[in-house]
Symmetry: C2
Subunit: 328 residues, 2 copies
DNA sequence: TTGTAAGCGTTATCAC
DNA sequence: GTGATAACGCTTACAA
């Protein structure tokens, strides 16, 4: 491994000079010296050791990305957007999946701290909320998708309540009355979406046909929906709060030999590859994932640049995409 | 930031002793000393600085994961498996998307090198092949999904040829004769799958109805398939080499008002959430993504542990999942 | 404009 | 069993 000393020797200068050339600021270094150094760097194929640089600078060009599971299409999209935005700033991204497990989450946060990452983009588990403040003191954090109680943090969120309200209203306006709600039990978005859901029903003098908070997995959505549809008194529509549950419910409806949207309406959150491919295609609230990820990353860089900056909460709007699954 | 010196002072010992306690090997340290150090660590909330440790040790507990796009469901699954396996060994994962762009790929490989990562799990672009050897000398590499010419590297691959052969044969056995092939143009898997495709046709005295190598994107798959289906002389089946193209082709068939599997058979690679949800569900070669990612990571750890170990190529088998899209 | 040298936080070698 | 201390590769006062 060839280091800055080798370059210095080859160019006949001190390591300080090499460093100055590397920094490439307007630090004073004679053009011909610079030339020689550059040549040496090139000849030797020298590459600066970022670990050493990080230690000396007491900061790294890495950010942590902490989400429950990157296989959730929502987080897949967020991750990609974060990586893009980070890459543009010369930062790299450490991928951390917590599986909604607070212990794993804590381990990863410690790790990121120990790695001296410049900041963290973080979609916390339910349990995390409490610890937010202390962590936030140490490392710049930006929360995405999910809130924490502390208000003194940066967040990028969806307008979950209103979005759920619109989605539910849309069902009602299409004649659905016995609407069951399937919500994830791991995220703060669910209670918010649940409130919007309830409010829309109430505003139309309706009550939820059923409400279930369950693990946000296809299988759970399937089982819960199937149970609902096996009763003699069935729901005539199912509202789901994320795409895993939507997929599960969709399959359950099919297996119950019921038809969408005639027998059962179905709506959910998040655009997916399959949402438009199935028959009928699914009505959803589309989250601006690209923008969420990018905004969060930009917010993080702002906080890294100025840690004392007063925190912002940015709320982006979901967009109702009406498709066949809810229109009869 | 509290460091090892602070702990040493608090415990009334030297940094060396603290370090020995931290190492927690059978290095000689009196139990009561150890006790005091542990207490100091706890009281102060000391956490070792991994950057410093990495510099000193000349190695890090990080691996790079370099793929074209994590949004490709195949790579999403691989990434998750890699992260799982790495996490179990106390390693963290740097996520790198190349977008099939050799420049971005080169930048990321340099970055990973400069970050002193312990190794790289790598699905290279087409152009990379040449550079494989020299890179491999510096950092332990394991190639996944895609081959490189050099044989002196670790690889985890699918049996692409035989899998494609089986998939094509399945179409033929179900009465399809005018089979068009849509292949990605970015990956070494496509030529291999193409060979299997051609061989199966040849073995049944058939020729490809059409063969297209195109960018592996939904839109490209859609356009190419739509063009094929708009001719008076149409294919009666479409073979696709990845799930992006499958999705595009599926949509094209629908928009052409043709029915699957009656008018057009459709098969592809990779399990996706939607493959079983659409009507009819899609016949695919399922890749053992979990196993691919895990095996690659384990291979990488073996190479990290013993760099002189002779390289292995592990070939895993795809599994034909027959569904409605190809059976009439 | 350039060089010397201290120091970032560890760990490992060598004394004691 | 424990403590000094050098070293990992880099950047930045401070001197010259």
């Amino acid at each position: 491994m060839i280091n800055i000393k080798d370059v210095a020797k080859a160019a006949g200068v001190s390591t300080a000079t090499v460093s100055r050339v590397l920094a490439n600021t307007d630090s004073p270094v004679r053009p011909e010296t610079k030339e020689r150094v550059l040549k040496a760097i090139n000849d030797l194929g020298y590459r600066p050791n970022l670990v050493a640089r990080s230690l000396r600078a007491q900061k790294t060009a890495k950010i942590g990305l902490v989400v429950s599971d990157i296989r959730n299409p929502f987080f897949t999209a967020i991750s990609r957007a974060v990586e893009d935005a980070a890459y543009e700033q010369g930062y790299s991204v450490l991928m951390c999946n917590t599986d909604e497990n607070p212990d794993k989450e804590a381990l990863y946060l410690d790790l990121l701290h120990d790695e001296n990452v410049a900041g963290v983009i973080f979609s916390p588990t339910h349990q995390f909320s409490e610890g937010a403040k202390e962590y936030n003191a140490t490392i710049p954090f930006v929360f995405v998708d999910r809130t924490v109680k502390s208000r003194h943090v940066d967040m990028v969120l969806l307008d979950n309540g209103p979005a759920a309200y619109d989605l539910t209203t849309h069902l009602i306006e299409n004649g659905y009355r016995k609407i069951a709600g399937l919500f994830g039990n791991a995220s703060t978005t669910s209670p918010e979406r649940n409130r919007g859901f309830n409010k829309a029903l109430k505003d139309h003098d309706l009550t939820p046909f059923a409400t279930h908070f369950i693990p946000p997995r296809i299988q759970q959505g399937y089982e819960t929906a199937l149970a609902l549809l096996s009763q003699t008194d069935k729901p005539d529509a199912i509202f789901t709060s994320n795409s895993m549950l939507t997929a599960g419910a969709f399959r359950a409806i099919r297996d119950a030999k019921l038809s969408v949207p005639k027998d059962v309406g179905l709506v959910g959150f998040d655009e997916t590859t399959w949402g438009e491919l199935v028959e009928p295609p699914i009505t959803v609230i589309a989250q601006p994932t690209e923008e969420i990820g990018r905004t969060a990353t930009e917010l993080l860089f702002q906080r890294i640049a100025d840690p004392s900056r007063s925190p912002k909460t940015i709320i982006l709007n979901g967009e109702l995409h009406i498709r066949g699954s809810s229109v009869r």
